[in-house]
């Protein structure tokens, strides 16, 4: 960011940025924008300005100057606005911004917000929108990501272990159900806990070799682990059916009662007319319950010694040891429990889809889940919900823009990070507060915030 304006008129805060005294240096800002636009021009000349077109058997070079100039102009204006905004921001702030104040209110009312959101989620299928299959389907997808976000939050947000291969546990859970159900015909309700346990076991397997690693190194190894699992799924043809995936995975049942037409089925027993929507709504509630369990579990853990130790370990390993915390156990438990929820979500994914293949478990999935955790503000439970809504719903909203929707999605993500570099709701609320007013010590366990 340190553009050519640096140090030209730098005041006492010569940190390589434009000075804040004397308002905005217009000439510098224009110059900076022009340079940015020039670079954009160089880049977009071959990318946008020139265009190879097939005309019959011929390959012709076409020019698209409108597009080219539009790109340059956008960069110029964007850079200009950004520079103004940046300089303005450097003035001393007068108290917290409106957003921060709102955030504060949110944190104070976390329990209420949580309950309202939960009630809204429960009644959604019974409202007008509940009849819309697309809405129920998207809401279910959204809840899968919320659950994955909360699961990964244990590892990344609380324990501070950067895991880029979280999708591996999701895949383990998914294949666990798919394989057991297709081969042995076990019900989803039996396999669900198994797949969680199995994924947790994989979490420990990953945990052992990376015990000594932190930060970048840990990220690389976990990234590799995620890829290894995917490559095994592709190549172990006898078991996983390779890239073709597994089809015909048995559908979910209402605790043994099937969702079909005919006698003894769900619709029959409950005296309803058969509708394909029933199973979708049921799936929606299953993932809602699973996600809520994940949330409550995490909140509970934060107040227990193990959860405390996760957070402490994130901050200082040496201090932890001197206080009697065994870093090995703490890290393994974070990996195992995070993985377990990934496994639950995975087996849900496969029972919903009825078909899985390694393609569903690529690195981009890990990246999206991590983005949810980071965008939400590490460790923030509500932040995960908002970020998941953003990540799942945004691309759907922009669906009509077709090929540009990922671009808009990416752009929006960049903007959020510029605006709130530490995540939307970056705020760790203490798990314990004392009331200083009354003389006696009453330890008030505070509802976990965000």
């Amino acid at each position: 960011m340190a553009g050519p304006e640096a140090n030209v008129t730098a005041g006492p805060d010569s940190d390589g940025r434009a000075p804040m005294q004397g308002g905005i240096n217009l000439a510098e800002v224009v110059k900076e924008s022009a340079i940015a636009a020039g670079i954009a021009g160089l880049l977009s000349l071959p990318l946008l300005g020139l265009h190879a077109a097939n005309v019959g058997a011929q390959l012709l070079l076409r020019t698209r100057w409108e597009l080219f100039f539009a790109a340059v102009a956008v960069v110029f204006v964007g850079r200009f606005v950004l520079a103004l905004f940046r300089d303005r921001r450097k003035r001393p702030s007068h108290g917290p911004s409106a957003f921060d104040r709102t955030l504060h209110v949110i944190h104070e009312r976390m329990l209420v917000i949580g309950i309202v959101a939960l009630v809204a989620a429960v009644i959604l299928p019974f409202t007008e929108w509940g009849g819309d299959r697309y809405i129920i389907y998207t809401a279910t997808t959204f809840l899968i990501y919320v659950m994955l976000g909360w699961g990964l939050n244990i590892v990344v947000g609380l324990a501070g272990l950067l895991d880029l291969g979280y999708v591996a546990f999701y895949a383990v859970g998914a294949y666990c159900y798919a394989l057991i159900a297709t081969h042995f015909g076990w019900s989803f309700w039996v396999v669900l806990p198994l797949s969680g346990l199995f994924a947790a076991f994989f979490g420990v397997i990953l945990g052992f070799p990376v015990l000594r690693l932190r930060g970048d190194y840990l990220a690389i190894v976990t990234l590799g682990f995620g890829e290894i699992v995917r490559v095994i799924l592709i190549n172990w043809y006898d078991v996983t059916n390779g890239p073709d995936g597994i089809i015909g995975i048995p559908r979910i049942t209402f605790f043994g009662i099937e969702f079909r037409r005919g006698e003894g089925t769900f619709a029959d027993l409950f005296g309803l007319d058969f509708s394909a929507l029933h199973v979708m709504v049921f799936l929606y509630f299953v993932i809602l319950v699973l996600a809520v369990i994940t949330n409550l579990f995490t909140q509970r853990m934060r107040k227990l010694p193990t959860g405390r130790a996760w957070e402490a370990l994130r901050e200082d390993e040496i201090a932890c040891r001197s206080l009697g915390i065994n870093p090995t156990n703490v890290k393994l438990s974070a990996f195992a429990l995070g993985a377990m929820f990934g496994g639950f979500a995975g087996s849900f994914f496969s029972v919903r889809a009825g078909f899985i293949s390694p393609e569903s478990f690529t690195f981009i999935e890990s990246a999206i889940i991590l983005a949810i955790v980071v965008l939400g503000g590490m460790g923030s439970q509500l932040g995960v919900v908002i970020a998941a809504a953003f990540v799942v719903v945004m691309p759907e909203v922009f669906r009509q823009f077709e090929q540009y929707r990922m671009l808009m999605f990416g752009g929006a993500m960049v903007l959020i990070m510029v605006w709130r570099p530490r995540g939307l709701l970056a705020f760790r609320s203490p798990t314990i507060l004392m009331h200083p007013k009354d003389g006696k010590k009453t330890i008030v366990l505070k509802k976990e915030g965000a």
Binding site: R308, E311, E315, A319, R321, S322, L323, G324, M434
Partner: protein
């Protein structure tokens, strides 16, 4: 109570401790002084098994703890306030104290809390504040208080006066004297601030280049011309 016998510690090829012998008796305050890089922190960390001594022995209450994992030492009654304080900066003062009580102090939490708040009234005022936003002196108080919450019998302190104003240094040293006197706590104190440390300590060791070069009572070392020249002149 604590005995270090002929301990050698290596960082790769570098021999940081070259055969160190010290002992700390129950109820004593013993200080270790020495210039930068002498190996003081290394000795404290070696007592805690991180890094481990490559030769020699560390005995605590007669038992060999040389190979005991670091995180088991709290249960045996050793607490450390490590160099650089290392408090949990995103956690509140209360939560930091809770972490201290996690393994061994949970049953007496309220009582111990009263005790450390009596010792450090400042912490009481700031109990809901995040550790990272405390001042340096308050952070040091918190580090000591956190170590005390585990109800140790031996307290290891690494440069508690580092970077603190003289007033605060005096305050902290008063507290060390106080817990030694009233609780009978044994303290092994590593210090740069030789004047205060020697005045406080019953006995003292001087470390140079990974070796103990001098030992004696605090008063003896304070009077020693060599010590005066090396560690006391120009300051205080």
């Amino acid at each position: 109570m604590l005995e270090v016998r002929g301990v050698h510690t290596f960082y790769g090829q570098i021999e940081a401790l070259k055969g160190v012998d010290i002992s700390v008796e129950e109820g004593e305050i013993v200080t270790l002084i020495g210039s930068n890089g002498a190996g003081k922190t290394t000795l404290l960390m070696t007592i805690c098994g991180n890094p481990r001594a490559s030769r020699g022995q560390v005995l605590f209450e007669g038992e060999d703890i040389t190979q005991v994992p670091t995180h088991h030492l709290v249960e045996r009654g050793i607490a450390q306030s490590p160099e650089g304080r290392r408090i949990f900066s995103r956690m509140t003062v209360m939560e930091n104290l809770q972490m201290g009580a996690l393994r061994t102090g949970a049953a007496h939490f309220d009582k111990d809390l009263d005790m450390v708040f009596d010792l450090f009234p400042r912490l009481k005022e700031r109990r809901d504040q995040r550790g990272g936003t405390l001042s340096g002196g308050e952070q040091q108080m918190l580090a000591i208080a956190r170590a005390l919450m585990s109800r140790p019998r031996l307290l290891l302190l690494d440069e508690p006066s580092l970077g603190l104003a003289p007033m605060v240094v005096r305050q902290i040293f008063d507290v060390i004297r106080e817990i030694n006197r009233s609780e009978g706590m044994t303290v092994f104190l590593v210090e740069q601030n030789a004047f205060h440390a020697l005045k406080l300590a019953h006995r003292a060791y001087v470390m140079v280049n990974g070796r103990i070069t001098l030992a004696g009572t605090g008063a003896e070392l304070l009077a020693n011309p060599e010590i005066r020249a090396a560690y006391l002149e120009g300051g205080h």
